[in-house]
Symmetry: C2
Subunit: 187 residues, 2 copies
């Protein structure tokens, strides 16, 4: 028997990212975990439309998604608490660029992606941005067989109920595999 | 120095959900992890437009998001491998309904949400659905102080590179708190 909890979003944890954009010629960053995947190359960002970073995403049609590891938790949280209108965040990191000239990527983040904006849905209080990944960059020390190894990356997983960042645990089972063992109960 | 990995989506892990809808009067389910949060009550689903479940979401304007725990990994993976066109998934679980009559929820999942479709973005190969949570339900044994406790829920975290479901780890730090300890390096 379940308890009704109102209409709380319970889709947690989600991976924490530092989103980058260029606002009035200056790199700006926002920490968000209200994001997701739309398809194999598609990323969604849900960002309150008061954020300064949104302006840069809309103006240039580009953004970056940078994944901080556990050892970056303090700076990640700091960026989530301070507006780019009050602090110039462009000097917090060493930056680099890929194909897109207005998607600043963070060298200190071991995995980064540069994205082209393909859809912009204006919700009442939020911008929902849908981007397509055009370039993915990773430090070699987080790769296994040429792919990002999340156990090495140690991403920060955000949960709203506990207001905490969580670590990744251990593998549970193989996808498209463990289900073969499942036999529906006959009625 | 980073290595370029093409344009791979690296926004993993994401929480795995079993999405429910009513298709031609019958409850149908799809396992997806290409989803996300748009805002405090908004959930995004990115679903290949060949899925049967999409049809039900579009017809009724409703869907459910059910969060399986680690002990449901086999049935969760099974649902991700079998099309509703080939197998009637309505008998796999005990179902219940909240306010919406066409958003079947799964009793065996300890946390479930019923959602109203508010936006439908047609991408080339995928439907991007944006839903608003209208009701959230949880077993009391996953609650702490009335909120969902993800350590008790034990969600399945999906990663595409390893093709594995992963468990949640431990808390790393408090949000909107650990960042106060961060002092930008003076240049």
């Amino acid at each position: 028997m379940k308890e009704k909890l109102g209409s709380t979003n319970a889709l947690y944890p989600l991976v924490t990212a530092i989103v980058g954009a260029t606002v009035d010629g200056t790199p700006d960053f926002a920490t968000i975990a209200h994001l997701g995947i739309a398809h194999l190359r598609g990323i969604t960002l849900g960002m309150g439309n008061v954020h300064l970073t949104n302006k840069g995403i809309i103006e240039n049609g580009t953004f970056s998604v940078n994944l901080p590891s556990e050892d970056m938790v303090a700076v990640t949280d700091h960026i989530g608490m301070v507006s780019g209108a009050k602090e110039d965040k462009s000097s917090l990191f060493e930056l680099f660029y890929g194909e897109l000239e207005t998607a600043p990527m963070i060298e200190e983040c071991k995995v980064t992606m540069e994205c082209k904006l393909v859809e912009h849905v204006r919700l009442p209080t939020h911008d929902l941005f849908v981007g397509e990944v055009v370039g993915t960059y990773a430090d070699v020390d987080v790769l296994t067989n040429g792919l990002v190894d999340i156990a090495k990356l140690k991403p920060l997983l955000f949960d709203m109920a506990s207001k905490k960042y969580w670590s990744l645990g251990e593998p549970v089972a193989k996808c498209w595999s463990v289900g073969k063992e499942y036999a529906p109960q006959s009625s």
